[in-house]
């Protein structure tokens, strides 16, 4: 394996590590705001991979897809944070283990 040039595999590996850290954040943390930040981290690792492949393939289309991911992320954050504020107003807490009204 050639370690003197940065190839696409390096970016796949970095993106996989960042995505996994984000997934672990969603699974491990109980704080709703940290969970949303972890989702952002996962979206960003996907964006990094899109840009890396756009460069690898010499095609700018991958970079356009990143704009769509960013728009979805912005909409998701706006709605998610409004949900968190609404939950906080009724529960006085953002600990998701206390949000269990639908639990049978």
């Amino acid at each position: 394996m050639d370690l003197t040039t940065v190839t696409i595999e390096w970016y796949i590996a970095l993106s996989a590590i960042l995505f996994t850290i984000g997934a672990l954040g969603v699974l491990l943390r109980r704080d709703a705001i940290i969970i949303f930040m972890s989702v952002e981290l996962m979206l960003n690792s996907a964006n990094l991979l899109l840009v890396a492949f756009a460069h690898h393939l010499g095609d700018a289309t991958g970079q356009v897809l990143v704009f769509f991911v960013m728009t979805v992320a912005a909409a998701e954050v706006a709605v998610g944070l409004a949900l968190i504020v609404a939950i906080f107003q009724s529960k006085k807490s953002i600990d998701i283990s206390e949000v269990n009204l639908l639990k049978g």
């Binding site: 040039t5 940065v6 190839t7 696409i8 595999e9 970016y11 796949i12 590996a13 970095l14 996989a16 590590i17 960042l18 996994t20 850290i21 997934a23 672990l24 954040g25 699974l27 491990l28 943390r29 109980r30 704080d31 705001i33 940290i34 930040m37 972890s38 952002e40 981290l41 960003n44 990094l48 840009v51 890396a52 756009a54 460069h55 690898h56 010499g58 700018a60 289309t61 970079q63 356009v64 990143v66 704009f67 769509f68 960013m70 728009t71 979805v72 992320a73 912005a74 909409a75 954050v77 706006a78 709605v79 944070l81 409004a82 949900l83 968190i84 504020v85 609404a86 906080f88 953002i94």
Partner: protein, 172 residues
Amino acid sequence: MGGPVLFLILATISVFAAVSMLTSKNAVHSALFLILNFAAIAVFYLILNAPFLAAVQITVYAGAIMVLFLFVIMLLGAEESAGVLSTRTGQLTAGIIGAVLVVGSFIVAVTQMGGTAPASVVADTRPRTLAVILFEEFVFPFEVTGVLLLVAVVGLYVMSRKLTNKERMEDA
């Protein structure tokens, strides 16, 4: 794709920032570490011939989205975060899922992509070119994105408005 030294420095910064975001007890520190991670990724965009995306990354992600996060954290006074999952089985499950994700993606990276040569051409990534691609090939997704943003705005209005007295009586 940049030199190995630069890549390793930036990768270390971004992974360190991500792990610190995950382990930090204070939600404000988590948000600031996430901004550091976004900044490192913006530098990656510069290396990967995407200067416009690097600018957008800083202004939209590190600027708008993270300011929104910090605003909500401070508005709610939720700096002291709720900590990690308490059950052993939960942590074990998360660990297994994480290990499977990393190992699986490494296997895919090596077997599927191993040795593919990068394209010899360097893509034209000026904002004008990106806009042409966006409005020629992705017009319909672009319109759908507009609808998505509209739905988000309507959803925000529904969630944040106060109920009128009449509605409150109907609810009760």
